[in-house]
Symmetry: C2
Amino acid sequence: MLKEIFAPEAVAVIGASPEPARLGHTVLKNIVENGFRGKIYPIHPKAKQVLGIDTYSSVLDVPGPIDLAVIIIPAQFVLDVVDQCGKKGIRGLVVISAGFKEVGGEGKELERRLIETINSYGMRMVGPNCLGIIDTISSLNASFAALMPDAGNIAFMSQSGAMCTAILDWSKPKGIGFSRFVSLGNKGDVDEVALLEAWNDDAHSKVILAYLEGISNGPGFIEAARKVTKNTPVVAIKSGTTTAGTRAASSHTGALAGSESAYEAAFSQSGILRARTMSELFDLAQLFAYQPLVKGNRVAIVTNAGGPGIIATDAVERSGLKMATLSEATVATLRAGLPAEANVFNPIDVIGDARSDRYKVALDAAMADPSVDAAVVLLTPQAQSDLIETVDVIVDAAKRFAKPVVTSFMGDYSLGPSLERLNANKIPNYQFPERAIQSLAAMHRHYLWTQRPEPQYRRFEVDQDRVAKLFADIRSSGRVELGEIEAREVMEAYGMRLPKSRLARTPDEAAEIAAEFGFPVVMKISSPDILHKSDIGGVKVGIADASGARDAFELIEYRARKYNREARIWGMLVQQMVPKGREILVGVSRDPQFGPLVGVGMGGIYVEVLKDIAFRLAPISEYEAEEQLRSIRTYPLLRGVRGERRADTDAIIETVLRVSQLVTDFPEIVEMDINPLVAYNRGEGAIVLDARIILK
Amino acid sequence: MLKEIFAPEAVAVIGASPEPARLGHTVLKNIVENGFRGKIYPIHPKAKQVLGIDTYSSVLDVPGPIDLAVIIIPAQFVLDVVDQCGKKGIRGLVVISAGFKEVGGEGKELERRLIETINSYGMRMVGPNCLGIIDTISSLNASFAALMPDAGNIAFMSQSGAMCTAILDWSKPKGIGFSRFVSLGNKGDVDEVALLEAWNDDAHSKVILAYLEGISNGPGFIEAARKVTKNTPVVAIKSGTTTAGTRAASSHTGALAGSESAYEAAFSQSGILRARTMSELFDLAQLFAYQPLVKGNRVAIVTNAGGPGIIATDAVERSGLKMATLSEATVATLRAGLPAEANVFNPIDVIGDARSDRYKVALDAAMADPSVDAAVVLLTPQAQSDLIETVDVIVDAAKRFAKPVVTSFMGDYSLGPSLERLNANKIPNYQFPERAIQSLAAMHRHYLWTQRPEPQYRRFEVDQDRVAKLFADIRSSGRVELGEIEAREVMEAYGMRLPKSRLARTPDEAAEIAAEFGFPVVMKISSPDILHKSDIGGVKVGIADASGARDAFELIEYRARKYNREARIWGMLVQQMVPKGREILVGVSRDPQFGPLVGVGMGGIYVEVLKDIAFRLAPISEYEAEEQLRSIRTYPLLRGVRGERRADTDAIIETVLRVSQLVTDFPEIVEMDINPLVAYNRGEGAIVLDARIILK
C-alpha cells in the first residue's frame, strides 16, 4: 500500500527554503501546518532553521530514520540527493522538481538515470515533475497546493498537475473529502498501475478516481484494475487524442480500430466506469463515497412537483434503470398517509405544499418496499417547504435502510443550509434530477460488474509448433504478409473449419481437383504479388464443370499477367464452394499500449459502412466474448429476424476465442482479418472462407 | 407582443388580501415592492386598504382604466370577476387560481366557460393554475414567487410552476438575468405558441427558453418557432413520456415512429435547439444572452494548463466544431510574445505561471486571426494567476472583436470575485471545458439555421380528385385499409412510377397479361380478406412462361382457399418484374399533436432491425427532405460503396416530397408504407413496388 509514501513516520523536505516565495518553503509549510504527526526534517545547505524547525544540510546528517523524502531542488542536483537518500535507507520519494522527461533531451537522460538510481536502492518514487501528494489519513500534505482538502474517502490520482489544483479549488467549498490525492507527474516510477495496486486494500478509500491522459503499461493496468474494481469502484476520465489516427492500417480491422477502441475495451473488461466529463467524475465519486452500493435497478422517486418527477422518470427510462412498481402495501400506506391529491404511484408526488412529514411517509414507505432498490428525493423549494427537517427525514431513512438515497434539491438561493446538511450527512445532492439518475445508473453497472463470475479463459488444443515454424519460415524469407495458403495453415492449426482447398498448377490439375471436391468450386489466383485478388478479377465462383475449371485457370492467369507481368504465380487455389450463410468479420489490430484487440462484427457493409464492430482485448474470456458479440447493433440479425433461424453464435464466439488464443500465443501478429467467417444456423458451425495475417 | 400582460400601465390584483399568509397578499406585495411604476388597484370585498393602498371591492368601482387583472381567488368565483373585468374593458388577465382543468370534472367545465368568457371579450389570459408572470422590463412581478429575478435578456416560459420556483432560486445567486418569466399553468389561452409570437419582435430578449411537457397545437408551434428562431434562438427542454407507446400501429412506419420522433422532427424543422438537461438549457442561455452569434466553426483555445487543453480539444472534435489552424502571422505574434516553453499552436498553452499579460498576448492574437470564429479561455488557478486582471483582459478582447469568447475558470474556492466579474461583464463561464465547447457547438448549429434558405415546398401536378373519389368510395364501403390495386391507383394519381400490373380473373387471362408485359412476371393474390399475402404463399415471383402463369394462378388460389375458405378472391394481380435495385421504405405515421410524420430509410433489416429511419413532419421542403435522407446511417450505401454507382437519391427525395404532398392533401391518411420503393442508379429513377394505405 506504498506505506513509505502515504504513511511515513518521518519526512525529509529536501529544498525546504526559508524564503516564503520558494516552492520548497510552501511544501514544508503545507506539511507543518496541516497537522502531520510524524517527524519533519527540513534539508537546506545553509539555513539553520526553517519555520522554527531545525534544519540539516543533508539527509545523511539526520540522526533518526527517515521514511519519505520530498524533493524540491533544481533538476541537476536531484540525482545526488537521491543517492544520499538511498544511502540513508529512505524508502519513499516524492520528486516535485521539474526539468526531466517533459523537457526532452538531457532531461530525458536525467530521468532515466534517476529511475536507475531509485531502482538500485529499491525505493519507490512519485514524480518527478508533479504537484506532490496529499494524504488526509496521516494528515500529510507533501505538495505545493494552495489548499488542503477535507478528509474523506475518495482517492484521486491525476496525470495533470493543473487538474489537481483545479479539483482542489473546486471541491473545497463543496466539502468533498479525499483520502489520498496524488499528482502523478512524469510517472517515473509510481504510475496508475502502482496506485491501483496500492489502493486495492485501502480501508480509507471507498472510491478511486483517475484523470488519465495515457497509459503506458496496458496489460498491467487491466490486471490491476480488474482486481481492485471487485472491491472498490474506479471512475476514470481519459482524455487525449492519441496519434493512432496516423497509424498505417492495412487490414479492415486495423482501419476500424480507432484510438478509442482499446481504451473502451480495457475499461469495459476491467470494470472501470468511464466518466465523460469532470462533472460526471465527481457525480459518481460522491455517490460511491457516501452511499451503499445499489443492489438492483428499481428506482423510487419522491417529489413535491410534477415537472421534475417527469424529468426524473424520463431519465430513469433512458439510463437503463427501471421505475419500481410499488407493492400494494406501499401504495396503501401512501394512500393513508398522504393527501388525496398526492400521486401514490411511482413517481410519488407529495404535492407542492408538502412539509417534511409527507416526505417521511413517502420515503419510509418507498425504502421499506422490497421492490425498491434506490430512492431519489426531488424537492423544489416552495413557501411551505421545511428544508432542514426534510433533510433530517432523508438522513434518517438513509440510516435505517441499506439502500442508496440521493437527492436533487433544485435551486440555490434558499437552499444553502439544507445542502450543507445533506453533504455533512453524506447524502449526495445533484443540481438537477438527471444527474442523480445517471449516477445511480453507473453505480448499478458497477454492481453488475462485481457480480460477474471470474473470467474463464478457454484453452483449445492447437498445433502451436506448426504455426511457430511457419512464421519463422516466412520471416526468414523477408515477408510480413502471409499468403492465402499460409494463412489457411494457421487457421487449420488453430482448429478452425475451412473449405476443402488445394493448389492447382495447371488447368488440368484444377479440373481434377474440382472433380474430386465436387462441383461447383471457387478458383482464386495464388501469388505473393497480388494481394487484392478480387480487384483484378482473380477470383471466379460457381465453376460448374471440368471445362469451366480449365477456362477459369487460363482466364485468371491472363488477367494476373495483365495486371503485373512480373508477378510470381504459384497457381490457382481450387476451393470447395460452401453454402451461403451469414458473413462475419473476426479481426485483430494490435494497440501499442494494450496489445491485441480482437474485433467482431457482421461482414461487408455492416462493418465497413456502419462501423458496427465490437472490440475486446485478448486474452478474451468466454463471458466477454459473448458480451462482445451481443453488443454489436446487428446482433438481432444473428439471433434471427423474419422467421430466419438463429445463427450459430456459439461457433462465432468459439472463433473469437481461438483467435484470441492465437494472437496471445503469437505477439508477432500485428493485424489479421478473417473475412468472411461464414456462420450457419445454430448447431451447424461456421467456416473460415478467407483470412489475412500480417506479422511484425 | 401581449402588451396588456407584460407592459400594463394599471394593474388590478383581485383577491389582494390583507392577511400576509394569503397568496393574494404575496402577489400584491411582489408587485408593490419590486418597483412596478404603473397604477396598482387591490381588489378585496371588505378591506379598505392593503399594504397602505386604497382597495376597491370590484374592478367596476375603480375610477381609471385597468390593463391587467391578476386573479387569486377561489375558482368558483373567478368567472364572475372575469366577467366584470370584461365589462371594465380590461384586456389582460393572469389567473393564478387553481381548481380548473387540472382537477378534472367540474373544474374542466369551469375552465371551458372561463375561456368562453375571455374570448367573448377578446381578452388574453395567462393561466389558470399558474405561478404568475414576471417582467423585469416593466418591473412587474405579478406572481407569488419568493424571489424577483435580476433583469437580463433571457425570456423564459415553463409549463411547470415548480420548475419556475426552482429556476428562480437557482439563478438568483448566479446573477442570471431574465427579461420575461412566465408560468404557463393550464394554458387556457396564452400557450407556448402565443408567447413565441409575442416574443418574436422583443428587443429585450436575446434568447427564449422553454420548459415544455406537451404541445397541443403542433403545426402552430412549428410555424411560430420557425419565424422567431430566424431572429432569436429558442432553447427548449421537452420532458414527459407520452402515451404513444400504446398507440396501435399497423404499418411498419407506425411501429417505428416512437413518441419522440415527432418532437425531434418538429424541433429540427423549426430551428429549436433541444437541451437534454436543465444545466444544458442554462449553459446555452448564458452564451446566447451574453455573446454575439458565432459565424463559423473554428475555435481557438487559450489555456494555462495542458490537461484541460486536451479535454477541450477532444470536446471540440467530438462536437462537430473544429480546432482553428492559426495563421502564420498569429503564430509569429505568439512566438514573440510568449515564453519559449509556451505552445504557440492551437490549443495555445501560456503555461502554468502565466499572468494576465500572457493571456492578453494569446487571446488578442487569436481573436484578431480571421481563421478563428470563437475563443475559449481556460484557467486553472495557480499561485501566479492574477485572476481579476485576466478577467479584464478577456472582457477587453470580447469588446473589441465581434466573436464569442467563453471561459472555463476551473475551480471555485479561489475564484469567487473573478467569476462575479466575468458574469457582470457578460462572459459566460463554465465549470468544466466540455460544457463551454458544447454550448459553442449548439450556437454554431443555430447560426447554420439562420443561414438556411426559406423552405421551398415543391408542388407536383397530381390528380387529387381521383384520390378523393377513391377514398370516398372506400369509406362508403366501410373499409379503412386500401387494397393493393387501390393503393396503386393513389400512387399513380400522385405521379409515382409503378411496374405494369393488371388483374387476371382466370389462369388463361393471367397467361395472356404476362405475355403482353413480357416474362418474367410476378403474381399475387388479390383479396380484401388476405392482407399479408406472402405469409400464406400468395406471391410467386420469377414466373417464366405462360404455363408457369397458369400454374401459379391455381396454386395461389388453392393456398388462399386453404387459408380462408370464405375469402373473397378477386383474382391474381399480374405484375411486370422489375430489375433489382436498392430497396427503400417511405412511410407515414400520423402524430396526434403534429400531424403526418414522413419517414424514409433503407428497407428490410435496415429499418426493421437497425431502426435506421429519419422522420420529418409534412409538409416537407426540398432542403429538409435532402437533409432527412442524408441523416440516415445507411446513407453511404445510397451514395455507393465498393465501386457501386450512386443511387438515384433525387428520385427518393421526390418520392418523399410527393408523399408529403399526398398526406397534406388527405388528412384522412393515418398510416402508409411504400415498401419497397426500388431505387436505381442515378438518373434511372425509382419504382414503387408495394404500398399500403390506412385511412382514419
